[in-house]
Symmetry: C2
Subunit: 350 residues, 2 copies
């Protein structure tokens, strides 16, 4: 069932032409644009074959062929060659990313922005997964009676904080003691190994009456857990409206509706990432095409993600969502470049 050489070329040509023109491509125009050394009838036979194998399909009887999801899949897996960016393209991307941002979150945002600008598609980034990072510092600051700020400094230089409610009569000094104890005992532990019990044990040798303690500990614990929460940043949703692929209002609405539920998208990205990690297959990028994407309204999209790193144990994702009728090679090389730059800049921060 391996495709012979010419059939591969035909499929590739169909994808290329369709991406470029957004029109079903027929045997004749294929001959005109590419110099196959055979007649259109031969190509017709090849195309019939490709259709039987599920790589291409007809929108209606008397039209040319368009790639199916499977066709795109074959294309990205073994047909396309990734080209390199021109110096100018590289410059544009770099200009957007570097600059004076010196906080990781800002940096990641700017990379996401750059990615959307460079591709013209929706781009996204997931905040770093901090489960594997560990506590470096913990401070509890009294704000006013009954209210305190828990500040966590994690490895990889991430700072998180959260306002929590505490019993009114707890003093500044008690808080200081408490945070010191927790800090001392939990430093170095990965976040995902910290449980309520660990926190409780860590606080044992303070002399604060335990009923009071309980609430604070619980708040401290949730603050730690919340630091681990994933957040997603999406940009450029409206750009999808520019593509004829979504010119039907219904499609556009479904797509943007789904994208507006950022929690759902975040969940999907996370799931994809986990799947890829556990299956051990780790390309530098991941692609989902059309129906492979289980999010509603993304049937005509492709979803490409990559992983960035912050320190040794912490990573997150950046990604692009565009019409599946996209120039994969260019998009991938752009995303790869953004990722590379982002990694470099993140390294500088630590």
């Amino acid at each position: 069932m391996e495709l012979d050489d010419r059939k591969k070329r035909v499929l590739q040509a169909i994808v290329d032409d369709y991406v470029a023109t957004n029109e079903p491509v027929g045997s004749k125009s294929l001959i005109e644009r590419h110099n196959f050394q055979v007649s259109s009838a031969t190509l017709r036979n090849d195309m019939a074959e490709l259709e039987k194998l599920g790589f291409i399909e007809k929108p209606h009887t008397s039209a040319g062929r368009i790639p199916s999801d499977r066709g795109y899949r074959e294309y990205v897996d073994s047909l396309m060659k990734i080209d390199t960016l021109t110096a100018k393209e590289q410059e544009e991307i770099e200009a957007n990313i570097s600059g004076t941002v010196d906080e990781a979150a800002e940096l990641i945002k700017s990379a996401t922005h750059s990615l959307s600008e460079a591709t013209g598609f929706v781009s996204l980034s997931m905040s770093p997964r901090l489960r594997k990072s560990f506590l470096k510092q913990m401070k509890i600051l009294m704000i006013e009676p009954g209210k305190a700020l828990v500040v966590l400094v994690l490895s990889a230089g991430v700072v998180k904080d959260k306002v929590v409610r505490i019993p009114n009569y707890l003093t500044d000094e008690q808080m200081f003691k408490l945070s010191g104890a927790i800090e001392k005992n939990l430093t170095g532990k990965p976040l995902d190994e910290i449980t309520f019990v660990t926190v409780e044990t860590a606080a044992k040798d303070t002399e604060i009456p335990s009923p009071l303690l309980k609430q604070v500990l619980y708040e401290a614990y949730t603050a730690i857990k919340q630091a681990d929460q994933l957040s997603i940043y999406l940009e450029g949703e409206h750009k999808m409206l520019a593509y004829p692929d979504f010119s039907s209002l219904g499609r556009a609405r479904d797509l943007l509706g789904t994208l507006s539920d950022s929690g759902m998208v975040a969940g999907y990205v996370n799931e994809m990432e986990n799947l890829a990690t556990s299956s051990g297959k780790k390309d530098s990028y991941m692609i989902r095409i059309g129906q492979e994407i289980t999010l509603e309204g993304l049937d005509d999209c492709s979803f490409i993600t990559a992983t960035y790193n912050m320190g040794d144990t912490v990573s997150g994702n950046i990604g692009v969502i565009g019409p599946k009728r996209m120039d994969y090679s260019r998009v991938i090389s752009k995303m790869d470049f953004v990722k590379k730059k982002l990694n470099e800049e993140l390294k500088k921060l630590t």
Copy 2:
């Protein structure tokens, strides 16, 4: 140029019908739906008059009339009567707002969400304008050599923080002294009266060598200034695609494109707010209709905002953007209710 009574009723009826049906309304259907005690010919004369005055217009020669921006303006200014919400509507809104959120930012977000859900339109909120709030606490926490976290506690219970870079050899203790000095001298001052000079003066009596100080002070100062920065939160952009008013892809794209530039929208809201404040005219809500809105692509929208309060001196805005062909009365009463609830909940927080 005052409209006589019947003409007012005609205009009102035209707006009501057009909002309900999205179809140009003609003299005959007007007679059918409302019981004017006159013939269609009379209404035709009235309508010709209204058109001459600029309240209504024809999309093309042989069609009915639709309200012009001016017509809507007249309608909201003096024709419509604001109706009250049903118990059920109130409940739905309340359910979304109250709940367990106990941080102001979260609360405001949830109100915004609720507003979008209730109206079916885009909703937005501006973070509180903190210029008028004052410093209650300031702490500088060392994170690691060269890096510190500036934590500001402002009146109205707002907590802001920022990671800043500091000279490597500054110690924890020095930082503590410094923040104490600044805190002591600036507490009670409104944010907009704090300048770099004030900060410098406040730090005078610490014994830290001044060249070192300069950089930290500058960072502290920018941290304070940044706390004052406005941020905007927009929700439900995709919902606009559901309205036939934006069924043309071009319009939809312009609209969503503009809305995606949140800085621009924020600037506009701020400008509107300032204008209203300085002109002294302070309704409980503000409306901009169609061309009155200077943002690109919002010609077919109306933009309604209201002000929420946090403590005595601090306020922000919530708002709705929908098609100008909207049921103003319902939208306004919903927004009013959300605002009321939000104010109540914010009060509870302090």
